[in-house]
Symmetry: C2
Subunit: 301 residues, 2 copies
């Protein structure tokens, strides 16, 4: 009995992954790189991104001290959870506004705020701690990749530093292997002349989605992945790139078709022109589609 | 007998490093991060940066095909090895011009070009292959850091992708742990519609020196180092930052005082306002100054 990928139901999807893992043994270890999207691929992103829940929490605290904040267009949309308005403003602009809440924090202070939030935050609809929203089958996949000496990276459209604060605990992924949207830093001196690095309210580069995700991986990891997993059209370029090289590749598309145990929706991305369902694109591209309903015996640990 | 740091002569410098290594055992492994500058710290940078020698080689080949290239101001300065003119134009502008030589190459093609150059290039003054210009005592230091589970990063003002092409072979450092100046990429499609990532002639962000080096480390590694090594004022902020935290820290300043076996010069950086000798700054800051002449029994392997 093959006890790998324990929470994956026997069938075509699991077979395809196992066949790839076998084929990967022939790939030089330096080229064994896996890039896994985070929101909706490694953990739950509904009813809203966990990072957005974190931002809303921080925004509410900020508004308590400074009520006029609630009137800015971006914050009003976030507090009102106005999806149309958020989409109209665009992810980049909203992210920028939210980043301003943490301006002047040191990276270490920001990490503490994230960890404090995650330690107590609760997902009401699923009635689970936010800390326990990772998909067990995907964590098992990481285990198998790591057993083959893959370099496993989380590549997220979300904030790199947000994910880094928790990536080691959730996935065993160290901060330098998280590729994401970056905030710019400013180096200052304290009253004793010691250097202090502080967050600004500006992004350093683009939001890490679509083609920018591919460029971001190369810039950060210096290598092309042969495994990519995603769930929205914002992952499309990364998936195409992972299977477009000379080596055997694996492109996994997590399909949210389990309204019972999680959510049923078609992954789309706010920043996208392509509005076809991502599962249609997956079929055209020959990606391995993961049905959460049929392929996973268990979703959460 | 303590056989660590074999090529380090017994004395104050070696003792200081060994004392730090002992103290580091009490630091949580997640915080054991070392950032080592490359040019002049890990390998020889005279009479010119090895990357500059690589660029000159590529430029000469390009000029053979397209002679008018030699007339542009930046290329004329590089080909003439006109230090004053190069300093006046500024590192960023010259780097940008040189990056244009590799425009439209894929990252893999660029890596091949670097490796081809390094396989045959020779350092005439020292009469050694370019591949054998790393400082043996510094490689021994990496070994000791790694024995303590340090995350060891090369943090260079030079091109990240240039150093990544050789960092694993020279230092055992994988590409994702090289932090340096980044070129921007552009994602295209080939005639079959497959994605192809190509280098542009633009930088992505700043040249990785001074304060930008500190911000670059945080953005890339997501952690603050407790060990930093450098040799020019462009490393100053990184060294201050490494020893400015709550944990025990080690700031190493490699002093090029060995005109017999290597070169005797005071490390300075083109992009610097501070024109005091870096060894004076080191004394003020309490950094550990490494005398190549007195502290190293052997320089190259």
């Amino acid at each position: 009995v093959d006890d790998r990928l324990h929470s994956w139901r026997p069938g075509r999807t699991r077979d395809a992954i196992l066949a790839f893992l076998d084929a990967a043994r022939a790939v030089p270890i330096e080229e064994r790189v896996a890039c896994l999207d985070n929101d909706g691929t490694m953990w739950c992103e509904r009813p809203r991104y966990i990072q957005l829940a974190f931002f809303i929490d921080a925004l509410r605290q900020a508004v308590r001290h400074k009520p006029e904040l609630a009137k800015t267009k971006e914050f009003a949309a976030v507090l009102g959870q106005d999806r149309d308005q958020l989409e109209q403003l665009g992810l980049a602009r909203v992210a920028l506004a939210l980043a301003s809440l943490f301006e002047d924090q040191t990276p270490e202070e920001f990490v503490d705020v994230v960890r404090d939030f995650m330690a107590t935050a609760h997902h009401d609809e699923l009635d689970r701690p936010m800390n326990e929203l990772t998909y067990l089958p995907m964590v098992e996949l990481i285990d198998e990749l790591r057993a083959l000496d893959f370099t496993v990276s989380i590549t997220t459209g979300g904030g790199a530093e947000f994910v880094r604060a928790i990536s080691r605990r959730l996935y065993g992924v160290p901060p330098e292997l998280v590729v994401g949207t970056r905030v710019a830093y400013r180096l200052e001196q304290d009253s004793q002349g010691a250097p202090v690095l502080k967050r600004t309210a500006k992004l350093d580069g683009e939001v890490d989605e679509g083609a920018a995700k591919v460029a971001g991986i190369q810039s950060h990891l210096g290598r092309r992945p042969i495994v990519a997993a995603g769930n929205t059209a914002g992952d499309r370029e990364m998936l195409e790139w992972a299977v477009g090289g000379d080596q055997p590749g694996l492109a996994l598309l997590v399909n949210h078709d389990d309204g019972e145990r999680e959510y049923a929706y078609q992954g789309k991305s706010a920043s996208l022109k392509e509005q076809r369902p991502i599962t249609e694109i997956a079929a055209d591209e020959g990606w391995t589609v993961v049905s959460m309903k049929d392929d996973w015996t268990q979703i959460f640990a």
